[in-house]
Symmetry: C2
Subunit: 500 residues, 2 copies
């Protein structure tokens, strides 16, 4: 890793000397690539500091920007550390809402972007559904459908750009499949073709997607209809009347609450069955598909047992329902649970029908079983259909994950974190509880929302960036390059805060 | 322009010699930057040729790919010419469904991507709503809100990634504004906060967006509910019961049908008024906003008069309705009509409330008036909120448009094309008619859908890529760098086909 960095630094220095002769940009600007991670966080101002506050004022004159925490200096950020415009350097255990798998300025990504062949791919963005580039099928095969990357059993891939549009198009794929099963080999009727143009039945059918309380699947109008994490995301926005089942709310520690948690699984699964029936018979909005996160992230890092997911799949695939199971791996996919896809932890009887992704994967999209492939063109389509420039980054990321055995590291570091956090919990059981996680996808609850917010603020003031979710939860979303050394900085800081 | 290219070639050659020493990639791969556009198209095989057909077979094993026309070699493509994998070089008058403003491998874009500072921006993609980079407010101000770029009167900007999500989030912004007007200064009620979590009224209100027959505004479930161009886009997909008004269908030539076309405007505007009333009083799904394209593109390049748009704005803004007017400039924005935004041709009484964009602008987003800015954070939000890597390209594009006075060129070349096409129409009036356009955003109808498809195929076999829209229309969507020389190649080829 170190050797790698030095090589890249040397390469970048030579390259930039040559490159900028006569181009008014100093080659010194490139040298930060060679900078190593700092040993620990450095905090010199309050956060946000004066420069951040001034930039926020500027941004607020152009848009609603009150969600901004601070302004970053991405040229100076490196690895697991993010530097802000006021010179503070923070250990980033949140990584842009879980979307940076290798941290900042990773040499493998910078190397890929320095390649002029790749620069041409970025400059010439095609309409992939009509005029794909010569390498596109090969890239899909070797990068996204690589046997170590694709979810086992899923042979088909559609690329998109973000999590919301991946879920929206996955819904459409499910609706098309569901309608085709009912239509059989019959062609579209004239009535269907005409009525759909005015959003009326039968061409525009009343089908639904079943989702869960606490779920987050995106914010466009279709995906938002399956999102139920916070009211501020939904209030005042029209939505579809689609069914929402309870998601298990477990008692922790799990090994002391086995029977209660099994009952909780059963309660939620019974609701799923009821909603299938109610929306079919009573509401006449039959459920074509079920969408579920393997771990509800935005909703509070809510876990459910492998048995819950196995039984959910059985219910969904019952002859009586014959719906599709969509597992939304937008936040869990790409390695943070120690496997490429979190649902690989569940030992499902058969592959899920659809798996959506985005975030760490750089581009959006979904894998699916062959039977869900639409028969006609232009039903799943848009101008860009993804973005080859993101595939360049994804290729560099996946190669690094393989070469550096990062999934193994995630598992080891995650186990270490869980163990240490558990002993912290025993020490401070009135303040934190319900430690849970897979890999480094870890969370714990605080005894109140106020305490949660206080702890996040204190961590920040001591140079550690984390994120909240649910009502009183702190979630950790480090890069896959997070080590025990980083974990210790986090743990020591958390301990010192809890001690106060 | 020529000097520019040579500079870039020299720069790239030096740079690549240095760069690839020991990197196994030959520097020769970079030399295509210096290649000039060919003098004319070169066709050596049928299209798609054998290489394209073989790649299509490969792609089809992984996804529904029957919309693919051919596979391109983007390394070899240059300017207005696209080269395919079988060695054919086509004059591209379609430009990736109107999304490439400067054609292929433009030196200004390649130069921007060769800058290591920009490469770091691409590698470190932030969650813009939480941790924007230090330059972000400045870039928004100087690039998107530049006084020659932003639509006159619109001071606020939200960035997104594509046309569909721009429209979806613009709808949300309109719904939030509409609900806030009704709520006044009152806070959210508990009932609203709770009911919205289950997609039920009053928290999830029954508001609508009025759209037009023939419109295309995207394919995610919200935007698809306002799309009415082709049934294959909509059939089997659930949608909202939102109102759809007639869009004017004009008789051509316009100067011989003034009275009829005015009556057509009035008929459509009366429908808009009726639908406002019907959806408010009878359906109880009041219209919060109206979405309209300045020229309906996908639906058949349907134009409407400035007076139509002026009156549509008056109806929308009436005290009785008090809805927002959203002009969708996803396809028309960024210069192809000879102005940065097509609605600038309409002399509206006041700025539209929202203008959405994508395609030629590289990233998606929307401009809006200040009054539509949401009061709370996280109501319009997602992980990425756009993509700074696209802003790098957009900056290079807009600088080129300014430096090379491309909007003026578009107007001049467009006028020339319209004049020449009109004389072709006079010569072959039984085959083509209804020539129309603004700038180089030009279209004409063929006397039947079959003839349209034949002409498009014959143009392709003679080395010219165009696109169809509506039922019997051929649309031209060249780059802004399209010249009279290119126009003559297109016109001569079309004449020779019509003569046969």
């Amino acid at each position: 890793m170190l050797a790698n960095k030095c090589q890249t630094a040397l390469f970048t220095r030579k390259f930039s000397r040559q490159l900028f002769k006569g181009y008014a940009i100093s080659w010194k600007r490139c040298l930060t690539v060679s900078v190593e991670e700092p040993k620990k966080p450095i905090v010199t101002t309050e956060i946000p500091g004066p420069r951040s506050r001034s930039l926020l004022q500027e941004l607020t004159s152009m848009q609603q920007a009150s969600s901004v925490q601070f302004f970053a200096d991405y040229e100076k950020s490196v690895g697991n550390y993010i530097t802000d415009v006021d010179g503070n350097t923070l250990l980033d255990v949140y990584m842009q809402i879980s979307s940076m798998p290798l941290g900042y300025n990773h040499p493998a990504m910078l190397k890929a972007l320095a390649d002029p062949v790749n620069q041409k791919i970025i400059a010439n963005r095609p309409a992939l559904g009509v005029f794909p580039g010569k390498d596109w099928p090969d890239k899909l095969r070797k990068i996204l459908l690589h046997k170590e990357i694709a979810p086992p059993g899923l042979s088909h891939i559609t690329t998109m750009m973000c999590g919301s549009c991946s879920n929206e198009n996955a819904f459409k794929t499910i609706f098309i499949w569901y309608a085709e099963k009912q239509r059989g080999d019959a062609p579209f009727t004239r009535e269907e073709m005409e009525s759909c143009m005015m959003n009326q039945t039968p061409g525009t059918p009343r089908f639904s997607i079943l989702s869960f309380k606490g779920a987050f699947h995106g914010r466009t109008l279709g995906s938002l209809s399956t999102t139920h994490s916070k009211y501020i995301h939904k209030i005042d926005i029209p939505g579809f009347d689609w069914p929402t089942a309870s998601f298990p709310v477990y008692k922790y520690p799990l090994d002391e609450n086995i029977r209660e948690n099994q009952q909780e699984d059963n309660r939620c699964l019974a609701e799923v069955e009821e909603l299938f029936e109610k929306y079919k018979t009573e509401k006449k909005i039959p459920v074509a598909g079920v969408i579920v996160e393997p771990i509800q992230a935005e909703g509070g890092d809510n876990h459910a047992s492998p048995e819950f997911f196995q039984e959910l799949q059985r219910i969904t695939k019952k002859v009586l329902h014959d719906a599709a199971l969509l597992i939304d791996e937008v936040q869990t996919g790409g390695g943070p649970t120690g496997k490429m896809w979190c649902h690989e932890h569940f030992n499902l009887e058969s592959p899920p029908d659809v798996v959506t992704f985005s975030k760490k994967m750089q581009l959006g999209g979904y894998y699916h079983v062959k039977s869900l492939k639409p028969k006609q063109s232009f039903r799943i389509f848009n101008t860009w259909m993804g973005d080859p420039s993101k595939m360049i980054l994804l290729e560099a990321i996946l190669e690094t994950i393989r070469k550096e055995n990062l999934l193994h590291r995630v598992t080891t570091v995650g186990d270490y974190m869980l163990k240490q956090l558990t002993s912290l919990q025993n020490e401070f059981s009135t303040m934190i509880n319900s430690i849970r996680g897979r890999g480094t996808f870890i969370a714990f609850n605080c005894s109140s929302p106020e305490l949660r917010d206080t702890i996040i603020k204190k961590l920040l003031s001591k140079g550690i960036q984390t994120g909240g979710c649910g009502t009183a939860t702190i979630r950790l979303r480090p890069a896959l390059t997070f080590t025990e050394h980083h974990a210790n900085i986090f743990l020591d800081t958390l301990r010192s805060i809890l001690k106060q």
